[in-house]
Symmetry: C2
Subunit: 312 residues, 2 copies
């Protein structure tokens, strides 16, 4: 597959369906980090997260026959909303498998974007089975939140936009959870940067990607006990080889480091980002020596937070 | 005084010292309000609030002899930081009279921007006396946070920028506290809008401006018990006549209305604004019938909040 061409085509394809989000800077945060930081604000993306890019890119490539039957995914987070909104924008149905015990507010958000909520038991296996059932019953096309190539490519377009504005970045950092964003980011940095290294930030408490990166096989997490709720998932068979090939390193950060980075972003950039978004910035602060005086792009992945449940 | 010319000159004068802040929109908030909303994001202004505009405009008009002796103001809020930063940008001294019991974080912020903190007792009278003492001792020029004409004119430049992008606004709304922002806003709307009405939002609990507007004399507040901590002050002799002449109405909003409006801005625009900033949007939601289908500019005045002390 010609990833460079795929990325270029994806960006053209999704442009009418996404925001070209702004890039923010802060003298104070630069001073604090000892580096020059460029924050790519996907919290301002449609539905509030980068996931819109990958969902739109996957849905827009369906055939007419596939579009008639709709799409299905399992997610209780941003990808559920992204698929719902992207499908609605294309006039097609979106079936979203969500665990019975998912918060009401998340189900309502999906319904608000036009998605059809299908309840399942809450185990990963039960959710996958239910999604399969929906595929069999409706003929809808299954879209994986982080492991489908069109999704991975779509997520990479955020970094393309960032490099278009700031072509000389030395590093681009993004959080790693399921692996779709970091794989897309790494491809974009490889094909559109000038020796731009991609580094992932990961919560120490769910550092399956770090361990996978070291061991060479996809590892799992035993607990999901991190505030960065978007990063509790594990890598997939499609994105892992891309990560192995194109990501330079994965930096693990503690929960207090994530919260401190999130607080700095809120206080200094005056923007609302979700905890997962703060992980990449936390990684920069964790390893200041490596990043000293470098130009660094940071993907702020999303801004969908529960204000009633903040860590400060 | 030719206010139109003053506004134009002020904008040119301060442009190297301020950010031309972005204007954000949201389909969802438009639907909720039943109107077309344009949020002027002064939370992204230097030091985090519109106050930078007025402080810069006042300081930049000082004579060379005045600049040598510096400036003095009394404020424990955004104006203290604004004067400190604007003075620093011009290479002059700023003496900031702050109550002894002001939070340490606020004193540190002023010092961080290069201001010299002078402590006083916490009553308004003691603060004014201390400022007078500093004037007598140092020869510094006193700048009032909301009642000096150059400050009022400087604050109006936010609305000039907004109308430059969106010339056909039917209304522009801003919060009213000391009266500097709303007076400047009203002048800008009068001279640069097309029949653009200026309306103030004010917390019901400190509605001195509303009562002054109705009675024709400057009224005071008996309590300062509102979450909108930037709006506890009262009108001044210079801004009140401007408000009487150019402001169409003042809408009072309750504390729950302010908190709800603030929450909507955080959740939907993904930006951090201080409670005072939410008052103008709360006023739009308070009187939906008046604003139905209108184009409305809303000045989001600032983003300096204490994250450890949020209302949700």
């Amino acid at each position: 597959m010609n990833f460079k061409e795929e990325l270029l085509n994806a960006h053209k394809r999704i442009l009418p369906y996404i925001h070209q989000t702004p890039v923010l800077t802060s003298h104070l945060l630069n001073d604090l980090a000892g580096a020059e930081l460029f924050f790519k604000c996907e919290n301002f993306q449609k539905m509030g997260a980068f996931k819109m890019r990958g969902a739109a890119n996957a849905i827009l490539q369906l055939s007419g026959a596939q579009k008639l039957k709709g799409v299905v995914t399992h997610s209780s987070g941003n990808f559920a909303q992204a698929v719902s909104l992207a499908a609605k924008s294309c006039g097609i149905k979106a079936y979203i498998v969500m665990p019975k015990n998912a918060p009401k507010v998340k189900k309502e958000a999906v319904i608000g974007y036009g998605g059809i909520v299908i309840e399942s038991e809450s185990t990963p296996v039960a959710r996958e089975q239910k999604a399969e059932e929906v595929v069999n019953e409706t003929g809808a096309t299954f879209i994986h939140p982080s492991n489908d190539i069109p999704v991975i490519i779509g997520q990479g377009t955020a970094t393309m936009e960032l490099l278009n504005l700031h072509p000389n970045l030395n590093f681009v950092l993004a959080p790693v959870g399921g692996g779709g964003l970091i794989a897309g980011t790494a491809l974009a940095a490889h094909y559109f940067g000038k020796n731009c290294q991609t580094i992932a930030g990961e919560p120490l408490k769910v550092n399956d990607a770090y361990r996978s990166f070291k061991s060479g096989v996809i590892e799992s997490n035993e607990s999901t006990n991190t505030i960065a709720d978007g990063l509790r998932t594990q890598l997939g068979t499609n994105n892992f080889p891309i990560i192995q090939k194109y990501v330079s390193d994965i930096i693990c950060v503690s929960e207090p480091e994530i919260i401190e980075a999130m607080k700095l972003i809120w206080e200094r950039l005056k923007i609302v980002v979700e905890p997962s978004s703060a992980v990449a910035f936390a990684a920069v602060l964790h390893d200041k020596i490596r990043f000293k005086n470098k130009k660094i792009g940071i993907i702020l992945s999303g801004g969908n937070v529960d204000l009633a449940n903040l860590p400060f």
